[in-house]
Amino acid sequence: MPGKLKVKIVAGRHLPVMDRASDLTDAFVEVKFGNTTFKTDVYPKSLNPQWNSEWFKFEVDDEELQDEPLQITVLDHDTYSANDAIGKVYIDIDPLLYSEAATVISGWFPIYDTIHGIRGEINVVVKVDLFNDLNRFRQSSCGVKFFCTTSIPKCYRAVIIHGFVEELVVNEDPEYQWIDRIRTPRASNEARQRLISLMSGELQRKIGLKVLEMRGNAVVGYLQCFDLEGESGLVVRAIGTACTLDKLSNTSAFLPACNSPSKEMKEIPFNEDPNPNTYSSGPSTPLKNQTYSFSPSKSYSRQSSSSDTDLSLTPKTGMGSGSAGKEGGPFKTLLRQQTQSALEQREFPFFTLTTFPPGFLVHVGGVVSARSVKLLDRIHNPDEPETRDAWWAEIRQEIKSHAKALGCHAVVGYSESTSICEEVCILSASGTAAVLNPRFLQDGTMEGCLEQRIEEASPPGCGFCHIPYDELNMPFPAHLTYCYNCRKQKVPDVLFTTIDLPVEAIVVGKGCLIQARLCRLKKKAQAEANATSISNLLPFMEYEVHTQLMNKLKLRGMNALFGLRIQITVGENMLMGLASATGVYLAALPTPGGIQIAGKTPNDGTYEQHISHMQKKINDTIAKNKELYEINPPELPEEIIGSPIPEPRQRSRLLRSQSESSDEVTELDLSHGKKDAFVLEIDDTDAMEDVHSLLTDVPPPSGFYSCNTEIMPGINNWTPEIQMFTAVRVSRLSNINPTNQTLNKNFNDLCENLLKSLYFKLRSMVPCCLCHVNFTVALPEDELVQIAVTAVAITYDKNQALQASKAPTEKSQQRASTDNEEQLQFPLELCSDPLSSQPFSPAKEVLEGASSHTGIPAAQRATSVDYSSFADRCNSWIELIKLKAQTIRRGSIKTTTSLEKASPLAEGYLRHRSVPSCTNSTVSVVKMTPLSFLPGAKITKYLGIINMFFIRETTSLREEGGVSGFLHAFIAEVFAMVRAHVAALGGNAVVSYIMKQCVFMENPNKNQAQCLINVSGDAVIFVRESELEMLPVQPSTAAPQPTSSAGDVTT
């Protein structure tokens, strides 16, 4: 009996009129937890009842505390008939179960009814008293903290990153039980909401247990999803990364950063990230691997496990196997072994993080993905969900082997998803193969010398780009060159990853959102035949998606993709593929060549003419894009670039996937030749269409940028003005005789129009960037496509942007210093505007000392700007490298100067900050963002995870404004309920917000519609940096980068 839950019902307001005769309501409240129910008195004849109840006390064990939601039902008392329910509030009390989060939940909650929506509000106070030692009760995992954020949350430091945790629970879906035939829709919806809430609690508790077993105390990057499998049941599954986190509040431990001689201190590394999120880490090679990774072939059958095909690919580059090539070789092997030992005891060395502590990510191999098609069958015994477990285990195994094939022992930026249509389910997993620094993975096993070597071997600005696999024994054909940054290691020509851009990455120009979109018709079929045809289509879709991405990337003159997410959605008569990623130009990788079109019938004159016309258009587009995204990499003379690497093929042919046979697919050659050599061979009309469609992507209107990662490469002066939004569209793709081409075009138009519409809506925020643009595609019915987009628009300061682009070092410099600030831990004292013109105070020097370690990337950034100027004087690699080394040193000095020069910005900022914030509204403002940080603000506390599931249904669709009116209101209600819960926890923002599911169904004939929405995020308290500065102690440190524009904002 280790816990006592206490609940007090204070008051209600704006209740609906339940008694038509009196225009009033006789309301009372039932408070239910587990099997215990309390009631308040009836407060007669009022729409604003004041119950002021006693404290209702529930004595429960902590397992129950974790699983059960608190259920509050508001009813209208009726003497003669049954009491009418007004609505309910479910409160997840999990945030009260760990000490560092919230201590009380208190506030106004919307009273929600699945048929009527929000009906007034209720004021509730909830507290929990925990007894005993929590950890003695092994069935519970109270105390394990959960974060949706896919990086180490600010205000924490990662002591150890343990690794992957996963769990799933299954149950029957109440909507498909026999009783559903006789109960009301309301009862059915509520049964479902309650069940999912219970299952989420149970799942979280079980994951928590696993974390405790691993000796961790937190889950980061926690992602929980539902699979609505219809008749066969309801699956709730979750993945995350177990960590041991340390709260950064007793600073002293970290202070020594600069005085302590120890190596670990010197690197400062691990501490987590100060700046919310700005960190991300690295990507690597292209999707290359990806082609291998789908294993659709036989996996659809029920028991069978999949893919033999891919396994055959793996052996070539098993760990430690390869001959050590060139300089990196022996080291790599050593590193590999080390990492291996750290990782080998883990079944799946996967990490759901997308942003990492500096130094964590050593190399990135490329995207690995696996899909499998399954037929759903009824889950007979919910307590033993082996089938689903086995399915996922199979996929993960495949991912693991793909990563091995890339010479990597870990997968980062890992995620899983499903798409279900009737009884067919596609399971997908993807991530980025990577080599990690073992230091963070284990206690105490750090070996100094090895670390040293790592540092030397991989400069942070480009190290992650260096190939982890053995170049003489490559898992796939690729074109390698020496790194354009350090010249020491090999890099691929293109790099695709699922993670965020590492903070330290050296980038040229700005990034942009790149999407590949694809539809494929499929015959309607049943069961196995259906699964087979889907399996057969998948490889072609993956291939085409990949080709489109590659083409679009080249068209923008860029060479790397971050945050890549490919969704394949299955419908009754088609499959849709939507890939989103953020393209950037990494200075370490070679300049991408253009796109050349080659005609197949060179004799035809008009055809030739047409081809050359197209070619010109493509070239023009590339030129325009380079200007738009400010891609002006330093030019390197050819002889320097010329690498000694044998080149298998200078120009590779791209086979179009139409050319059948899955055997061929595995042989696809995805290496895209040299600099100038990306050839599109036009061998049929489809190809022509493809070229046309390439050119239809319209760049965003001026003043807008967009990306699907946390931060936009090349923009660093955010203002605090943000707008998170969700947009949903359902559209009919085509009417009669759809073909793949018309579908593609329609789908493409749908996405482009949606983006256009967003730009228009948000035009008042210009200059602005849409960050974390997240598209989700569903196929609710024949030919109907539903697209849901959630993103955040952030205004940035244009003037500062200009300056910043001149001094690209600033950003990382600021970030680095932010880190230090966090480590130093007197946040209030130190976090002043770093840019403020105060000259050198001793503190500042300390910081700078520190940043010269963490801030290496900054230095390199600076160098990357100017080394071309002397590059032509170099005749050999060695000379160049030497020179470069010098420049780096010089560069870091320069960086310091630029920091001081930046003070004009600070002045501007000071001017602004006196702008009073307008707040006399009675409702506290809660910000929401899909990002893990708030620009211009500092997160001071994480209050707990928000994970909410709602169902809304109507039987008067027309009266509620049709489908749009219905969904508009529902989404607004969901936002309102999320905000209310956050505010009741004492928070003022939700970060890492995500809408994981939005399932919409309608039956216009019956005037009915139903929608399910599942959202999650982290409730936090943030403090405006400008407010922090108002505090008396004037600091002398660098403030986190977002600050720089803190003031503009609200004006």
Binding site: H14, P110, I118, E121, D173, E175, Y176, Q177, D180, S188, G230, Q723, M724, F725, T726, A727, V728, R729, V730, S731, R732, N753, K756, S757, Y759, F760, K761, R763, E781, D782, L784, Q786, C918, T919, S921, T922, V923, V925, K927, M928, G961, G962, V963, S964, G965, L967, H968, I971, A972, E973, F975, A976, R979, F1000, M1001, E1002, N1003, P1004, N1005, K1006
Partner: protein
């Protein structure tokens, strides 16, 4: 129940499928487009609003498409429709949790929603608001809503309105005037009153409430400000003595005339018309106890005071001097014991006349 619908065999799947395309945008902070709000308030349909926005040149400025504009307009219209319920009780807009709207935007929403066309308001002045005569007009609904909300409330009308509807003070005063006129049912529609604007009447209403209502004397008044206090109106009959008692009338005249001699340009006319003017001024008040006579308040003032003065070419300054002396003089009349009442009465009358004395 959706379980059944969702099962392939049983789910009704009409050929039409989706009845309409779904297209929504919801921001965590509710987007309010002022231009679209205005169009919505003006009662334009989505199609009309789109057409107007097109004419405004937004397409060229933003390089967007008509479809985008339509989608945007629909989103805003839906938002406004959902907000409208809250706008009917603005304090709820502040407390509600559904839409996160910055306070200054909330104020703008309310202010624009309750703004009205003065020409229309002028037309409706004095008409009954409790029953819908002009249902189609949103503004009329606003008048009715405000009227209903404050009808039974005590205390200063304008302040009550300001509190209940969160309107800016000047707008709240205008609403108070409308409520006041609706309560007292003053006639304002006669042809000879046409030269008076809404603002004129609003100013008169304000003066009358300011000087005559109970709230003006005691904050915790028993009667709503919108009604003139019965006892006061009853008392006004006592003033008739000024015109019925011949001695008093003569003395009053001589006091005023001696005070104004040489000071106003229309002295002769004043001397000639004093008794008629005085009778008119006193009787207007005396009639206020009867609902039917109340209606004629402004008609009487215009017909019996303003028009005669105007035809004698009194300047506004003349009128002001006259009214000042006319109000002050009875203090020196032996036997007149109602000076306080008289001054309270005349304060509003003077303010009204001066406001109304224009072409």
């Amino acid at each position: 129940m959706w379980g059944h619908l969702g099962t392939p065999g049983t789910r009704a799947r009409p050929a039409a499928g989706m009845s309409s395309d779904l297209d929504v945008f919801v921001g965590n902070t509710t987007l309010i487009d002022e231009e679209v709000y205005r169009l919505w308030l003006d009662g334009h349909s989505v199609a009309e609003a789109v057409a107007r926005r097109l004419r405004g040149g937004v397409l060229e400025r933003e390089g967007t498409s008509v479809a985008v504009l339509q989608s945007d307009t629909r989103d805003h219209y839906r938002t406004f429709q959902m907000l409208e319920r809250l706008l009917h009780a603005p304090p709820r807009l502040l407390q509600q949790l559904l839409f996160q709207i910055p306070p200054e935007r909330q104020a703008l929403l309310v202010q624009r929603y309750y703004a009205f066309d003065e020409a229309l308001a002028r037309e409706l002045l004095g008409k009954k608001l409790s029953k819908g005569t002009k249902k189609e007009l949103d503004e009329f609904d606003n008048f009715k809503r405000v009227f209903k909300a404050v009808e039974e409330l005590r205390g200063p009308l304008a302040e009550n309105i300001q509190q209940l509807f969160l309107l800016p003070p000047s707008l709240a005063r205008d609403y108070a005037a409308i409520v006041f006129f609706a309560n007292s049912r003053f006639e304002t529609g006669k042809r000879r009153l046409q030269f008076l604007s809404f603002a004129d009447f609003a100013a008169c209403a304000q003066s009358m409430m300011g000087h005559w209502s109970q709230g003006a004397l005691a904050p915790e008044a028993a009667e709503p400000d919108g009604d003139l206090p019965k006892s006061f109106l009853q008392d006004l009959k006592e003033l008739k003595v000024l015109v019925t008692d011949k001695d008093l009338l003569d003395q009053h005249k001589s006091l005023v005339c001696s005070a104004l001699r040489g000071k106003i340009s229309v002295y002769n006319e004043l001397e000639a018309n004093f008794k008629a003017l005085s009778r008119a001024l006193v009787n207007v008040g005396g009639k206020l106890t009867h609902a039917r006579d109340v209606r004629d308040f402004f008609v009487d003032l215009v017909e019996k005071v303003i028009e005669p003065c105007r035809s004698d070419k009194w300047s506004p300054g003349d009128l002001r001097l006259f009214l000042t002396q006319y109000t002050a003089a009875p203090r020196n009349l032996p036997g007149f014991r109602h000076q306080a009442l008289w001054e309270r009465y005349m304060a509003a009358i003077t303010a009204c006349l001066l406001r109304m004395y224009h072409d």
